[in-house]
């Protein structure tokens, strides 16, 4: 090739390389800053699960989108692809003067603790955890609200259903043995299981509740294995408390012909074996947090979501609930709401 032509090629390459930069410099910004000064700006940062996790992240986003359409806020989302993205993502929103930054999941406790201290004028909502300081200790900050749930109350209601079915001999094996498979031995998981134990024991004191942990929240295989073990020990109803891993509980239970119970959201569509789900309304909590910033009632510290404020609940699945059991569930619901009974939140050995 001649030298001139080579130069031309080199020049063209340089120009092409510069193209994105030129484009970036030249364009007039049409996307930014469309909001007026008094529009509330809310940023949501997912954990590494991403928006399509069919769990907390997607539920929080539902709450955010609902707030966008009903409250007229500006809503922006950033997904974290790795844990080292948490702090930059939170900082990205905080540094640009967003009114509220929402962080999803206990894995972001330390990141929220860090960024909330640097930006005291920005409000933060942390779902399922309290912020942690530089030494890893839980702290309270005047600009952070921790959205926590009384999972034990939802666990209690599915426990009531399970206990009554066992007592009446309406379960597949009439074995008076049921199981719970947790993802990890962490507070939210144990709250669910403790409530489940309480509910079952209340209705069928002779029933035995097997408890196992898969140490996993995403891969379904370990949960399916734990379910298998519990089935071989006689369990005919298994409650999954392990997020994506727990989907293995539902499908394995379906294959082996036992009943299963879903968690966090209505999981009756995941498998035919799902007779009910213990739900945690992350979308409600997210929406309420945004609303509190909008109407000025933002509350730092811990906000608890329970049966009373519809933050947790019981959702029917693929088994019609007999009228007498429904009556009992409703009555226990009212007792919990009124404070007449308190559901324990620690797992019994």
């Amino acid at each position: 090739m001649s030298r001139t032509r080579m130069r031309l090629v080199a020049l063209a390459t340089c120009l092409m390389l510069l193209l994105p930069v030129l484009a970036a410099c030249g364009g007039t910004s049409s996307t930014s800053g469309g909001s007026s000064a008094n529009t509330i700006k809310v940023g949501l940062v997912t954990d590494t699960g991403g928006l399509n996790d069919k769990g907390f992240n997607s539920l929080a986003n539902q709450g955010l989108q609902k707030a966008k359409s009903e409250l007229g806020i500006q809503a922006d989302v950033t997904q974290s692809t790795k844990a080292s993205d948490y702090v930059p993502n939170l900082t990205n929103f905080a540094s640009r003067g967003y009114n509220l930054v929402i962080a999803v999941g206990f894995l972001m406790a330390s990141a929220v603790g860090q960024v909330s201290q640097q930006y005291p004028n920005v409000k933060f909502a942390l779902i399922d955890s309290t912020p942690a300081d530089a030494k890893g200790n839980s702290v309270t900050r005047s600009n952070v609200t921790s959205l926590l749930f009384k999972e034990q109350e939802a666990g209690a209601l599915v426990g009531i259903l399970t206990g009554m079915l066992e007592k009446q001999g309406k379960t597949p094996k009439k074995s008076h043995i049921v199981g719970a498979v947790g993802g990890q031995k962490i507070p939210p998981v144990d709250h669910y299981i403790a409530g489940f134990q309480w509910g079952v024991a209340k209705e069928d004191p002779s029933a035995k509740v097997l408890v196992a942990y898969s140490d996993e929240f995403s891969d379904p295989t370990p949960c399916a294995n734990k379910t298998d073990t519990q089935i071989s020990q006689g369990a005919d109803v298994v409650f999954q408390v392990a997020g994506g891993c727990g989907l293995g509980v539902l499908t394995e239970g379906g294959k082996k012909g036992i009943y299963t119970i879903g968690v966090d959201t209505d999981q009756s569509a995941s498998d035919q074996s799902v007779i009910a789900s213990a739900v945690k309304r992350v979308e409600t909590a997210t929406f309420d947090a945004i609303k509190s910033v909008k109407d000025g009632s933002f509350q730092s510290g811990t906000v608890l979501f329970d049966l009373k404020n519809d933050g947790v609940g019981f959702v029917k699945g693929n088994l019609p609930v007999p009228a007498d059991i429904q009556t009992e569930i409703d009555s226990v619901t009212n007792q919990i709401k009124s404070g007449a009974v308190t559901v324990p939140d620690t797992v019994k050995p």
Partner: protein, 419 residues
């Protein structure tokens, strides 16, 4: 193509035989393939963004803002964006060197992720156990622990390869899984799990953390100093790149590594111990990877070990960094800057114009793909009018082509494995 075969040319080009022009031409030739791949990736990315209903121009504006702090229209602070980018460049550069040194010896180290996890585990243990030591002693010790952890993990691969011929692609991938499960064991109800927490260790103390480039107290460019996390880790990584260049070009060991990489038989004939070279190369590669882990703990924004490190892709992105940088130090530095900026930019792009940051992963994949397929070169060969007649490949080029072909096939295999 030498000057003597070229036709007569104008006066101004009479100096063509001068070393400067020759050097420029070589640089241009070396840059053509990577630069072409990057341009191609951006063009394909623009089409994809448009297809997804986004505005490619606005998206790339946001990408440039997040990556380099230029063209920021969403109220971002450019200095903060640059700080974020530096924070992401550091581990990519370090890990890219780890992959690069192995490549030069003809070894494909896919286990950088596992090695950096071991490095991070060792570094965290030292950071927590010796927390009372002053920073000037503790930080070097912590880095050394990272180096030892990574070198140990990669050394296993080197020894297996040297003495049993076990293919390093297989053994490094397997050891990645061992590292992931070791991490799970330590952090999930294990000995390193922080009390009242899950999946994370306690953070290392203040004196185990690298000094940041911007003081932590006070306001800088309108933002609190604590928001800037870029640390002197970037200088450690750049120094490592300098060591890499020196090792490869100026030392007998570097010569041996390159010789083994081009032809093991020829190297053996020349009296080089291939076994020793393979083991030493893997030890060095692992040391770089382990230092990456140390930098992630002592630098960055999270100073603790976390179980999600097994979903972190630094060790795999490093393969692309090294390939794009053609395994030379300056190239690895430049491509680490590009990939770090792309990652940081992707996060801003998503928050600003709501284009998923996954588009950045597509850009990276296209770059890697076109490098591996080397199809710009084949295009040039097919269409002679586009470029010069194919040069007769000399030994170096042939070796590189063979290596890239091998890398292409193994990269595809690796993709299958992860899917």
């Amino acid at each position: 193509m030498t000057a003597s075969t070229a036709p007569a040319r104008p006066e101004s080009e009479a100096a063509a035989t001068s070393p400067w022009v020759e050097r420029l031409r070589r640089v241009g030739r070396a840059l053509a393939l990577p630069a072409g791949s990057v341009v191609l990736a951006f063009l394909i990315g623009a089409v994809l963004i448009a297809l997804a209903g986004g505005d490619p121009l606005a998206s790339y504006e946001a990408l440039a803002c997040g990556g380099f702090g230029i063209s920021c229209f969403g109220g971002e602070t450019p200095a903060l964006q640059i700080s974020n980018t530096i924070e992401f460049i550091t581990p990519l550069l370090m890990a890219g060197l780890a992959v690069g040194v192995a490549f030069r010896a003809g070894l494909f180290n896919i286990g950088v992720q596992g090695q950096l996890i071991l490095g991070a585990i060792f570094a965290t243990i030292v950071g927590l156990r010796l927390a009372s030591l002053p920073g000037v002693i503790l930080i070097p010790l912590l880095m050394l622990a990272g180096v030892v952890g990574g070198a140990l993990w990669a050394g296993i691969v080197g020894v297996l390869k040297a003495f049993t011929g076990a293919h390093e692609v297989v053994t490094t991938i397997m050891l990645n899984y061992v590292a992931y499960n070791l991490l799970n064991y330590l952090l999930i109800n294990g000995p390193m799990q922080a009390p009242n927490s899950s999946q994370i260790s306690l953070p290392v103390g203040q004196n185990a953390q690298l000094p940041t480039l911007i003081p932590q107290e006070g306001l800088f460019f309108g933002q609190p100093g604590g928001a800037y996390h870029a640390s002197i880790g970037i200088f450690i990584a750049l120094a490592a790149a300098g060591v890499y260049a020196f090792l490869m070009r100026r030392t007998a060991l570097g010569y041996e590594i390159r010789a083994v990489g081009q032809s093991q038989r020829a190297a053996r004939y020349a009296g080089i111990s291939v076994r020793r070279t393979i083991i030493v190369t893997m030890l060095i590669s692992g040391a770089f990877a382990g230092l990456t882990g140390g930098l992630m703990i002592a630098g960055g924004s999270l100073h603790y070990l976390y179980a999600d490190l097994k979903f972190d892709t630094t060790g795999f992105d490093a393969i692309a960094v090294s390939l794009l940088g053609q395994n030379v130090a300056i190239g690895v530095v430049l491509s680490a800057i590009l990939f770090g900026a792309l990652h940081a930019g992707g996060l801003v792009m998503q928050s600003d114009v709501q284009i998923s940051s996954h588009i950045v992963e597509i850009l990276q994949a296209v770059i890697l793909f076109s490098l591996a397929a080397n199809f710009l070169r084949s295009l040039k060969l097919r269409l002679p009018s586009l470029g010069r007649e194919p040069a007769k490949p000399d030994g170096m080029e042939a070796a590189q082509a063979a290596l890239q072909a091998e890398v292409g096939s193994t990269a595809a295999a690796e993709g299958d494995g992860r899917a």
